[in-house]
Each structure stands twice: as structure tokens, then as C-alpha cells.
């Protein structure tokens, strides 16, 4: 049977690492400097562009685009540009929910294609993550899972806008560090860095885990227990230290996982030592000696 679809062929995806980026800025000029070319390129490629504001007035987004020569009004009228707020869309429920978000991205992509767009790109302002929104503690888990569950599955391009005036430095370091690609002002590395593992379900942990990094470890544990699929992997080659609480949290997440095992790659000496003291923590964990 011949292909008879009338939808335009999707644009070839841009290189994968570029497609999910953290973008850090510290003033409005830098913000506009990231915004305008991103929107312009998307419209030129025939992709639908969506902007989810958190703290910026949507009219300011429209104004800045217009004054830079982008016909935002027309693009919005034709549905090629959507300027909305997180509050009116994905934060309108009782709490931010990463599991639901993964489905929303797949839906948004389907809708954009059905409406005849060649692809979808989005900007999300993420400052709400530092503002006590219900479920904000799951933002890091969300950023980490997006890579594999959304970006490796869909030709979506999304930039996460982090305003360094609104997000405290340690949280900014953690969240920006969770992206494979970073733009804008350089950000110091977090004490414990969590990054997605390209091509696989899992994470790379590097740095030092202790009482001070318990919140990041909880996010890693949420990825371990909540990611769909079979086995989940943690690459620990860059992990210099971890405490018993971090290990117990990860082991418990592995135990809660309904399918597959937690595989630890390049388990460092302190982890092996702690498993030697508490072999019971290794029950749902596989140490891959490669």
C-alpha cells in the first residue's frame, strides 16, 4: 500500500544533545537573546513553537518577538506560535506530576503533527521550581527522565529557561547539571551531579553524596523506581563518595521497582565497602564489573 499521508514529512531532528538544553540567564537582554533566535528558527523550519511562561508576562514575550522583527501576532493567529503560562497548562492540576508530563509531551507532538506542523519546539520558564509549587521537588526527577522518555523518542526541541535571579545557586547548579547540553552563563557544578545516560534508562552520578545531597539522591531514587522499561542503570564512575543513607535510598528504590533490576556500573570503593557491611542492601542491585 502506497503512503498517502498528507502531513508534511517531519524535519530531520537536530543533533540529540542540542534538543534538550538548560539555558541560564541573569538579565532581560540575555533572556531575549536566547528567545528570539530560537523562535525564529522554529518558525522558519515550519515547527510549532510553544512558550510556557512562569514569571514573565506573555505580552512581554510577544512584544520582544515583535520588536525583533518576528511576526508573532500572525504566527499566533495561525497556531504556529503559542504563548501561554505554566499555570494555565501543565501546572493547573493539584501538583506537578512528571509521570503525566511525559504523556503530555507525546500528545503535544502528535497534535502538532496532526495540525500540519513539521515539528515542535518549546521553551519552558522553570523558575516555578524554586517557588514552592506543589510537586516542585519532582522537577529534578522530571528533567532527568525527559531525556530518555521524551527526547530520545520524539524529534522535539525544548529549552528550559532558568533565570539565575530567581533560582538559588545550589538548585540552579543541580537542575542545569541535569541537562546533557547547556547554554548561557556557565554554572558551577553541583556537589552531586545527576545526568541522564544517553541511549539507556538510567543516570550518571558524579561528585560526592552525603546528608547535604539527600534531596538529589531522592530524585535519583525516583528515577530508579519510576522509570518505565526493564533494567535501570546508574553509572557511578564519577562518584567519589556516598553515605549509607544515599545507598539505602537507592537500594530501596531498586526494591520498589516493579520490573527489571538496578545495575550499578563502575561501583566505587565506598559503595563496595558499605555493601560489604550491609549485604542485604544488595538484594535488588546488580554490580556490573566492567
Amino acid at each position: 500500500m502506497a503512503m498517502t499521508s498528507t502531513a508534511p514529512a517531519p524535519a530531520p531532528p537536530t543533533p540529540q544533545t542540542d534538543r534538550h538544553s538548560s539555558v541560564v540567564f541573569s538579565d532581560d537582554r540575555e533572556w531575549a537573546g536566547h528567545l528570539v533566535p530560537f523562535v525564529r528558527a522554529g518558525l522558519e523550519r515550519g515547527e510549532q513553537v510553544q512558550y510556557f511562561a512562569a514569571t514573565t508576562d506573555p505580552d512581554r514575550v510577544r512584544g520582544v518577538l515583535a520588536s525583533a522583527g518576528v511576526d508573532a501576532a500572525r504566527a499566533e493567529g495561525e497556531g504556529r506560535l503559542v504563548v501561554t503560562t505554566a499555570e494555565r497548562t501543565y501546572l493547573s492540576g493539584p501538583a506537578f506530576d512528571p509521570d503525566a508530563m511525559m504523556g503530555l509531551w507525546h500528545q503535544a507532538m502528535d497534535t502538532a503533527r496532526a495540525e500540519g506542523h513539521r515539528g515542535l519546539r518549546a521553551i519552558g520558564e522553570m523558575a516555578w521550581g524554586a517557588q514552592g509549587v506543589a510537586g516542585a521537588d519532582r522537577l529534578l526527577e522530571y528533567e532527568l527522565r525527559l531525556h530518555h522518555e521524551v527526547f530520545e523518542a520524539l524529534p522535539l526541541t525544548a529549552w528550559c529557561f532558568y533565570d539565575s535571579r530567581l533560582v538559588p545557586a545550589p538548585l540552579l547548579a543541580q537542575l542545569a547539571g541535569a541537562h546533557v547540553h547547556h547554554r548561557g552563563a556557565p554554572v558551577a557544578g553541583p556537589v552531586l551531579r545527576l545526568e541522564p545516560l544517553p541511549g539507556r534508562t538510567g543516570l550518571r552520578l558524579s561528585g560526592s553524596a552525603g546528608y547535604d545531597t539527600r534531596s538529589a539522591v531522592r530524585s535519583a531514587a525516583a528515577v530508579v523506581s519510576g522509570s518505565p522499561g526493564g533494567d535501570v542503570e546508574l553509572d557511578l564512575s564519577g562518584l567519589r563518595h556516598l553515605d549509607i543513607s544515599s545507598l539505602a535510598t537507592l537500594a530501596e528504590a531498586a526494591r520498589r521497582r516493579s520490573r527489571g533490576r538496578l545495575r550499578l556500573l563502575h561501583a566505587p570503593a565506598p559503595l563496595r565497602r558499605l555493601l560489604g557491611l550491609f549485604p542485604e542492601l544488595g538484594a535488588a542491585v546488580e554490580i556490573a564489573d566492567r
Binding site: P170, V191, G207, S208, G210, Y211, D212, T213, R240, H241, D243, I244, S245, L247, A248, A251, E252, A269, P270, R273, L274, L277, F278, E280, L281
Partner: protein, 326 residues
């Protein structure tokens, strides 16, 4: 003397005076290897052959060899461990004893333990902690059907033998078993060991709150590396310090002070905070690693360090972690 205490004296056997219903915790003061082999040998033989119990023998290496040869007919019923390894840090011993007792205690069986934890090579700080362990045996096994024999070489300093008379309800000396008139409340005995720790010379100091925990860990790691601590021991050092500094932030008022210095044959890390130690047995039982409330961190420190000193008082809590070097 009140009627009540007279009644107590006459009608209730004080804890540990004989292998009756509760803990039996005698000391054996020995003058020679023959006396040692005879005293310890009889204790183990009675337990194993007389009562069919399991025995755990933890004594320093050379004595271990002699005892094993003396009791070779009992092999299979006795677990032998070298005190200089298993009890290198005396703070680990109670956990070891409790695991053994928990496994073997029953209405028919009275597990028996020999633990010679004070010996000449311990050094003063280690000896204090070894005696503290002995006193805590009375607390941990109160009312339990467990026997614990502690041999003491009579050439040990008189202060050690005096402490032993306060710790053990019965002492066998010159082959005669007597009730010790100096026996005292074990917690009072423990408190008597809480003498101030000597001041270090020129330590490296890191003040930390939650946001400086990573800095404290990084500094501890780098410093130990510069001091020549081999990688495997450096892992232990950092694990112990990571737990201790994390506990300061979590339980000790949100912050603390880490000081590190080189002692004669070891590296020492001191962690000082505003916490209090309410349970003298904390960290002396193998915890559930999943529970954050079971003294998990302190137990890990005891397992990984060569000596752990702990002092609690109105100024807060002081921990000193020792790691042998070179």
C-alpha cells in the same frame, strides 16, 4: 541500711554473680599461661561440654593459638577470633557479642563468650574504650542468659585492675572466685571514663554547616591522601567522617567543627557539635541499614576506624576517629 536494701541483698542475686538466670560476667585475673589456659579452658569446656552451649572466643593472637591447642577437642563448637583484628576498635566488640548471643541464646542454651579486650599493646586511649566496652556488657546483656568471661593479665596497670573490680560482679584471682566488693553501676563506671581528651597540636580545622559538608569531606580526603593513608583506608576514613559530619548537621544543632591531626601512629579526626548522646549503647548493635534511627552512622564508624573515642557533656558531643597509618 534500709530494710528494702537488706531484703535485696539477702533474697535477690545481684546480676552476674553466677550462671543462674541472668548475665554471668566474671573477670579472670591470671599470672601465668598455665593459669590462663586453666581458667579460660574450664569456662569454655563447662559451657560447651557441660551445657551444650556455643562459645565465642576473642583473645589476642598469641593467646588464641595457645587456647586453640588446649581446647582442640572442642573445635566445631567454638568460634575463634583474634582480638587484635575483630576487636581492634573495642567499640565494635559489643555488636559482635550481641550478634553471637542473639543467634545462640534460648531457654536451653546459654551462649558463652570469652573476650580479652585489654592487653598491653592497646595504649591508654584504647584501654579506656576497652574498659567502657566491658562496663556496657553489663547494660547490654542485663537479664540475658549469656556468660561473658574477661581475662586480665595481672601485669596490666593497677588502674586497669581497679576498673575491672568495679565492672565485674565476680573476680577470680589466685584461682579463687570472689564477689567483687567494688562492683558499681555500669553507667557510673562509664561516666568515670569520660575524662577530657588531650588537646592536639596544630590541627587542621574546618567549621561546617550543611552547605560546607562537601568541603569538609573534600578536605578530609585530600588531607588523608597527603598524609599517606593508603586508598582503601582513605575510603574508610572518608566514610566515617562523612557519617559523623552528616550526623552533626542532622542531630547536633545543624553544624559542627572538624579537626584533623597526626598522632604518633595514626590520623585523628575530631568532630565536635552541640549534640548529646542519650543512649550509651548507640552504634553498638548492628543496625537495620534501612532505618535512619538505629545508630547506623556510629556503628559504621566503629566498624571502619581503629579506635573511636566519644565524650558527651554540657558542651556537646565530641567524637574522635583514629585511623592507623604507615
Amino acid at each position: 541500711m534500709t530494710t528494702h536494701s537488706r531484703t535485696t541483698t539477702y533474697f535477690r542475686q545481684p546480676p552476674g554473680r553466677g550462671p543462674g538466670s541472668g548475665l554471668f560476667h566474671p573477670a579472670l585475673f591470671y599470672r601465668s599461661e598455665a593459669e590462663y589456659l586453666d581458667g579460660v579452658g574450664r569456662f569454655v569446656r563447662t559451657a560447651v561440654l557441660g551445657r551444650g552451649a556455643q562459645a565465642l572466643v576473642v583473645v589476642p593472637g598469641p593467646r588464641l593459638e595457645a587456647l586453640r591447642a588446649h581446647l582442640e577437642d572442642l573445635d566445631g563448637r567454638v568460634t575463634w577470633l583474634d582480638m587484635t583484628e575483630a576487636g581492634r576498635n573495642p567499640g565494635r566488640l559489643l555488636s559482635l557479642f550481641r550478634e553471637f548471643a542473639d543467634r545462640h541464646e534460648s531457654s536451653e542454651s546459654r551462649p558463652s563468650i570469652v573476650g580479652e579486650c585489654v592487653y598491653a599493646e592497646r595504649g591508654p586511649a584504647g584501654t579506656v574504650e576497652a574498659l567502657r566496652h566491658q562496663a556496657l556488657v553489663n547494660v547490654a546483656f542485663a537479664g540475658r542468659r549469656v556468660s561473658v568471661l574477661t581475662p586480665y593479665d595481672v601485669t596490666l596497670p593497677e588502674s586497669v585492675l581497679e576498673a575491672a573490680r568495679r565492672i565485674h560482679p565476680v573476680v577470680t584471682e589466685d584461682g579463687v572466685r570472689r564477689t567483687s566488693p567494688d562492683f558499681a553501676d555500669p553507667l557510673d563506671v562509664c561516666r568515670s571514663f569520660d575524662t577530657p581528651l588531650p588537646d592536639p597540636v596544630d590541627p587542621l580545622v574546618v567549621e561546617f554547616g550543611e552547605h560546607e559538608l562537601a568541603l569538609a569531606r573534600g578536605t578530609a580526603e585530600d588531607w588523608a591522601s597527603r598524609c599517606g593513608l593508603p586508598p582503601a583506608r582513605r575510603t574508610d576514613w572518608l566514610l566515617a567522617i562523612g557519617e559523623a559530619t552528616g550526623n552533626s548537621v542532622r542531630h547536633g544543632g545543624g553544624r559542627g567543627t572538624l579537626r584533623m591531626w597526626r598522632a604518633e601512629n595514626s590520623l585523628v579526626a575530631e568532630i565536635r557539635d552541640d549534640g548529646q548522646l542519650t543512649d550509651p549503647l548507640v552504634g553498638r548493635r548492628r543496625p537495620d541499614p534501612r532505618s535512619p534511627h538505629g545508630g547506623r552512622g556510629v556503628w559504621i564508624m566503629h566498624q571502619l576506624c581503629d579506635l573511636v573515642e566519644m565524650r558527651t557533656g554540657p558542651d556537646g558531643l565530641v567524637l574522635r576517629l583514629h585511623m592507623a597509618v604507615g
